[in-house]
Structure formats: C-alpha cells, structure tokens
Amino acid sequence: MFAAEAAAGHVDPGFLLEHAYVVPLVMAASFGLTLAIGKRLGRHASWIGIASIGFCFLFAVGANVQWYDYVHDSEHAAEAEAHADEAESHGAEAESHEEEGHEDEAESHEDEAESHEEEAEEHSLAPAAEGESAVGPMAPVAEEGGHGEEEAHLEFEVQPVQKAWTWWTNGTVEFQAGMLLDGMAVMMLFVVTLISLLVHVFSTDYVAGDRRYTHYFAFLSLFSAAMLGFVMSQNTLQLITMWELVGVCSFALIGHWWEEKPNSDAALKAFLTNRVGDVGLLVGMVILFFAAGQTFDIIEINTLANAGDITHTALLVASLCLIAAVMSKSGQFILHTWLPDAMAGPTPVSALIHAATMVVAGVFMVARMYGVFWNGLVIGGSSVNALAVVGGITVLGGAGLAFVQSDIKKVLAYSTVSQLGYMVMALGVGAWTAAMFHLFTHAFFKAGLFLGSGSVAHAVHSFDMKKDMGGMKQFMPKTFWTFAVCTAALIGIFPFAGFWSKDEILAGASQLGGEGSYTAFLVVGSLGALMTAAYMTRCIYLTFFGEFRGGHHGEVSHGTEDHPVEEDHLAADSGHGDDLEAAHDPHAGDHGDPHESGPRILVPLYILAALAVVAGFTNIPKSGVLDWVPDGVALQFEHLFEPKGGYFPTAGAIEGALSHPEFDIVIALVSTVLGLLGIGLAYAWYFKGLGPHGITSRNRLARAGHTLLVNKYYFDHLYTGVIAGGFKGPIARAANWFNQKGLDGVVNGVGKGAVAGGRFVYDQIDQRVVDGAVNGAGATAEGGGQVFRTMQTGKVQQYGAILFAATVVLAGVFIVVV
C-alpha cells in the first residue's frame, strides 16, 4: 500500500476507482434489461436489479477501500516530497509518520455486510487530527475557533480521479461526459448503492404481486443509475442531465399507483415543483459556464472561483440561482411542498428517494460547487447568508409541521425536510464536513425509519397512526426496536449516529463564520433538536404504544397507498407469497392481529439500525473533552472524504479558508438535554396525559397555531389558489371584473346622483369625488373595450403588423435618443 510512496507525485488510484464509471452503466443496463425481458421473468425480474445493485455495492465497497489507500498514498507522497525539501522543519509530519504503527481498528464490526466498509472508514491513521499542541502556534489560520487548524500545515492534495470523453465539439466548446471521483463522490457511491440494495431487497416483499412489478424495479434501477451518475458528474452539463433524470424517476415512482388520483397528482406536483427550481439550476449553471470562460468542468469552475478569477457578482448571482434549485430538490422552504405529497409513492421508494438519496441531490450539488457558494456568499466571513437562512427556516418549519401529521410517513417526510434543513444550514455556515457527515448518517437512520414505517404499514395496511395503529410494539417487537434505534439516532441521543453529526453542525454554527459567527443558527439548530425529539416521541407513541386501533378494515378509508397493493394481491395469484409468513398475505392481515414482517423486510431494518448506531463513530472528534480519542479512529470521515485541492475552499479561497469546528462539550450537553427535554415533554403529554390537553379547542392562539400547521402554512393554497389560479385566465377575469365594476358604477352613479340632489350641500364634495371616480372608471372601461374590440380581428397579420410597428418605433426612439 505504500509502494507508491517512493514515486512522489503521481499516485495510482487503483483499478476500481479508475473504472468506477461502470457502476451507473451497469444500473442503466439493468434498467434496459428489466424493461426488455422483465415481463417474461415475472416475479424474478427483480433479480436483475438486485444482482446489478449488488454488484455495484461490492464495487463501491472496493472503491472505498481503494480510496482509503489512495488518500494515504497521496499523503505519504506529499510527505516524502516535503521531507526531501526540508528535513527538520516539519516535526509534526515526521511524528505522524511514526504513528503508522497503530492502525487499530475501531471497536465493533457491526454487520458482516458492512465489515469491508467499516474497515475502509475506521481502520486508519489520522495524522490530520494529531499533534495539535505541537503545531497549533504556527498554524497560519488560527481565527474563529481560537485554535490551530490542523489542515493548515499538513496540506496535501488528493487529486480527484477524473475521466472524460468528449461527446462532441462545437466551435471551441467541448461537450463531455465523464466521471469525477473524489472523497464525497466515493462516499455517496457507497451510501447510494447500499441503500438502494437494501431497498431492492425490501421491495421484493413489499410490492410482491404488484401488477407493475417489472416497471417498479426497472425504475429503481434507472433511479440508481441516475443518482450514481449524478454524484460522479464531471461537468455541470452532466450534473444537470442526471439531476433531471433523477427527477423523472421520482415522478415515475411517486405515481407508481397512478390509478388513484391523489397519487398521480402528487407525482405531477413533485415534478412541477422541481421544474421551478430547475430553472434556477439552469440559469445558475449557464452563468457559471460563461463566467468561468466557457467551460462545463466542475473542477475548473471551482478552482477559478477559489482563485478569485470569477467576479464576485457572478458568483453571488449564480449561487442564488442554484439555491432555488436546492430549495426544490432538497425540499427547502418554500418549495418543500412536494416532498410530503411524494409519500404517495411506495414506501421503499420513499426511503430510497425521498429520504436517503434523491432529496440530498440538492445538498450534494451545493457541496460539489462549494467553491462557488463559499466565495459567492462569503460564507467564511459573514454572519448570515441566504443558504444558512433557507436551511434555518426549513429546520424549524419542517419540524413544526411534523407535529400535526397523523400519517406516519408524513411525519417522517417533514422530519426529512427538517433534517435537510440542517444540512443546508451547515453548508451555509461553512461546516462542509458536518453537512456531508449528517447526510451520511441521516441516510441510514432515515431509510431505517421509512422502511420501519413500511413494515408497520405492511402489517396494518394503513399509514394512519391515529386510526389504524397503536400498540404495535407487542405485535412487531423487532420492527419496534429498529425503529426506536433509528429514532434515537434522529433525535441525537448520545452514542447514536445523529448525535455526532448534529453536534458537529451545531458546533460549526457556533464557531465558524466571520465576526459574530453564526450564533443565530446555533439557536435555531438547538430548537430544532428539541422539536425533533418531541415529534418523534409522539410518532412512536401513536404507532407502537397505547391500544391497537386497527383491525377494522373494510370500513375505514386506507391511506392512499396500500389500497392498490391489496387489489393487486387479490387480482394476482397470491400463491407466490408462500415462502413468507402468513402475515404477508393481506387476506390474513385483514383478520386478527398484525404480525411481524418477514426476513426480507427485517434484515434491511437490522442493517440500517446497526448503521444508525455506529455510523457516527466514523467522524468522532478529537478535541475538547474527547482529546483522548486515538488518532486512528478520530475524524476519519473528514480525513477521507473531504476534498483536498485547489477546487475546494480549504486552499486558495478569497475569503478565508474552510475550517472545522472543535468538539464543544457544552453544546453537546445542551443539545442532548434539549433532546431529552423534548422526549420528556412528549412523554408527559402523550404517555402520561399531563399538560393542558384540549388547549387547541379552548385557546384561540393555540387553535390558530394548530390550524396554521394543519394547513401547512397555507403554502399549497398559495400555490394552487393564488399563483396557478391567477394564471388560468387572468386577462379574462381582470377584464370581466373591470367591466362589471365599471358598468355597475355607471348605473350606481346615476342613481346616487338623483338621490344626492336632495342633500347636495351636505356631502357635495364627497359625492362629486366618488361620482367622478366611478363615472371615470366606467367611461374608461367602456372606451377601452370599444377600442380593443375593434382591434381584435383575429388576423395574425394585423397583430404582427402592430407588434412590429411598435417595436420599430421603439427602435427608432432608441436610435434618436441614444
């Protein structure tokens, strides 16, 4: 592994990294194959997808192992060079060299399937994090946190593995397709393939017997291909293409059961809402294309942005446009409305697309173009910026909405919105690593939660917590425990994954940024933690505790989603489910109590719950009270996956370099206490029945708040009623309104004038003014109507003549004036 060390400079990335482009290609092939021969295979069609994604997962694990080697080789190559230059000055690096000895493994391997990956992540040495005291004083950037920045003196570049094929050339612009593998891409490769694999397995049970079984798996494959292509995008053009492809797959999968109107409506809504943001994406990318001297190359754009070769205005405008794209794709306020509706899709799809992968595309895009955002929004030197504000609002807004949902999936959807807000906020305050780390951990526990909810819904055939659930703990203990573990991770209870990532975000909000830092967002984040704890406790209570309220099927209306499954079960021959427990047969589910789910549903849950426990240790900090953490364990995530090079604002940025927050025991304690407080409050409220129940019916203020939440802050009303309605026939309606008011006015005016004759002294002025206005309006409307009526002949030529005449006159005016 250290063979390449001698040849300082070039480091061989390894076979799998060089050829990672096959991963999306395999998935694309799987899509085509499933569509082509899937029908003939019947239920075995899923095996194409599972085999492909399994292969890709193994590939991704291998790529991660090679990436681990590659980072270290690069580092040692850089060190060797440094040693050759000056032998004695870099004590710290020499020290770190000696430390190679203990590459001790981190504590537990949790799961056999993950052991490879954990190896890649945890068994390593971390020179980056060590010897703080030795080098602290001479660190060049010792600002914000008031401590030495480890990265500053151990600078070594990890060249991203790039490949690009020229697709076509037009003039001097090359249109390319390619791959760009750096830390975050490799990380996403692992996350996407793992979750996709688990979701594939889960789905074989969940949608068994669906009449569009092959269609479903084909689109899962296409989605995986698009997402993998997205994270590996080498240029902005490819980024946009894959972004759109992901959106298309989302559309197809949300509307999987399109026979029911709400489902197809939700699919359309998701698609159209995303279009709004996509305009921002296009405009932003076009601005960057021209600002960076007509290039699509992501690395080049970021490098130029960091080097200050793109004007600040261009970067600012571009990043604001791109934020619009993030708002739509990653469900940020005010374009978040599609995400909860997207729960109309099958639950595994919700887990894959709307929790773990697709919705983080926006976050990933920001992270990918971070040089642009960093310099455009002056993240390093400000105390408030658009990105952080959007994220902060989303954290609280999403969490608030999660309280009033009775559909378990909608709770989780709003929770996703809120958590994505955390990520965006972290990017906004400059805590890049924290954001990606939260993305990483969130993917596991949120997928776990969604699949858990799917498992419950599979048993009770509904998603309504209030009507059909309750007391599920006794029926489905295994599902309950995995769900509880993932919830603990989401809330951020101490050793679980969410604790570490959320804490890093909060620490980032308190320590990074310019003067004054981003303290406001620390408050927002802490408040969000409290709310998260409370609504998740509510969700657990309603689902797993209390009395079972289900078992009355046939009379209640189901959630929008499970109905078709049942139909399909009834329609199709359900004998194929024989290898499973009887619980999976919906006929059995209708009578008697719900049962625990089968192995194909439970095993993915176990794996995700295990990851929800341990994923946080991949970036365990080594500072503050955690000073004792061994080097081989601490900050592995940051060390491995954070890009190191000129295209990332660690080096060469105009406004301050990216830095990392310290572990702060106070913040950690406060956020934990807030989380426990949230749990406690919710426990008291729901389990014990304490507190002012029924306040919403007694107190006007509380009721108003509740109504506001139930109506989702009226965003849907705004969009469908005001905006869409406004476009439906604005001219016709406005003209109609004007006409009626005008004509009525004339009539009224005449009548009023007669009456006013008796008392014209009394209110002469008032009357005259009103009359004048009314008559004037009427006359204007009538006269305008007469003129425009004759002009509307329906002859295109005449319209054209008027149009061109006006244009030409304008041009003449410009010529004369200018």
Binding site: W168, T169, A801, V808, V809, G812, I815
Partner: protein, 168 residues
C-alpha cells in the same frame, strides 16, 4: 471606381427594384419571377464576395428548387393568373410604415457604426475567405454536429410536409 463596385451597384439596383416589385406587383406569377431575379442577384453578390460555393448552392437550391416549389404552390392553389387587385390587405399602410421606419433605423445604425469600414478588414484572419475547400473543412470539422442537426431537420420537414399535404 473599381470594377467590382461597378458590378455591385448594377446588380444591387436590379435587386432592390425587383425586391420591391415582388411585394408590390399585382400578379402572383410575376412576383415569383421577380423573386427569381432577386435570388440570382444574391448569388451574384456571393460571387463578388468570393464565396463561390455558397453562390452555387444558392442557384441550385433557391432558383432550382425553391422557386419551382413556389410556382407549384401558385399553381396548386389556383391563384388568379392575371391581375389581382386584391393582393394587399386593408392595413397595408401599417406594414409600409413599419418597413420604411425599419429601413431608416437600420440604415442610420449601419452608417453610424460601419461608416467607412472596408470589406477587407485589416488584420483579418485570412484574405481568401470561404473557398470551397475551406467551407468543406469547416462543415465536416468543427461544425459537424450542426450539420447533422440540419440533416435531421430536413428529414423532419420532409415528414411534416408529407403528413400535412397528403390527402387522406
């Protein structure tokens, strides 16, 4: 006056006259004939501009194909073959106004901007522009993709025209 200029002004005068006749003459077939004269004049101007390949294409495509097509159109739609007093519509003065003002605007802008710019700009990239070999190199080199796109466009137009015009 340079010989090139003599030719230019003679041809330009004929073209301008014919172009105006195309849109003012009262006989549709005559309009097509005037159009042919304009198109031939354009081809001649291409030759004066040393773009002989474009000139050849102009003759082949425009005079050879498009004018014939237009004549077919005249024939198939059974336009009156004699005088037709009703060729302009009721608001032709708007069009006349537009085009006169447009010409004034364009002429003043052109004279203002390119006042005495010679055709052969000093320091231009090459002094032998657009001979056939160079055109071929350009089309099948950097402009290959637009070229292919045009071929698809022609195919689409072909299909579209057939779909529109065939009798069901």
């Amino acid at each position: 006056m340079a010989a090139q200029n003599v030719f230019f002004y003679v041809i330009a005068a004929v073209m301008a006259f014919s172009a105006i006749r195309v849109v003012t003459v009262k006989n549709v077939v005559h309009a097509a004939m005037y159009l042919m004269i304009v198109l031939a004049g354009v081809a001649a101007q291409y030759i004066l501009l040393a773009s002989e390949f474009v000139a050849a294409t102009q003759v082949l495509v425009y005079i050879g194909a498009i004018v014939v097509l237009v004549l077919f159109g005249v024939m198939l739609t059974r336009a009156k073959l004699g005088q037709d007093v009703n060729l302009t519509n009721d608001y032709w003065y708007v069009g006349a106004f537009t085009s006169v003002i447009l010409f004034a605007v364009m002429a003043s802008a052109l004279l203002d901007f390119f006042g005495d710019e010679p055709l052969d700009r000093a320091g231009a990239e090459s002094q032998v522009p657009a001979n056939t070999e160079q055109v071929a190199d350009a089309i099948f080199g950097p402009y290959l993709v637009p070229f292919e796109a045009v071929s698809i466009l022609l195919l689409a137009a072909l299909v579209g025209a057939i779909v529109l015009a065939r009798k069901d």
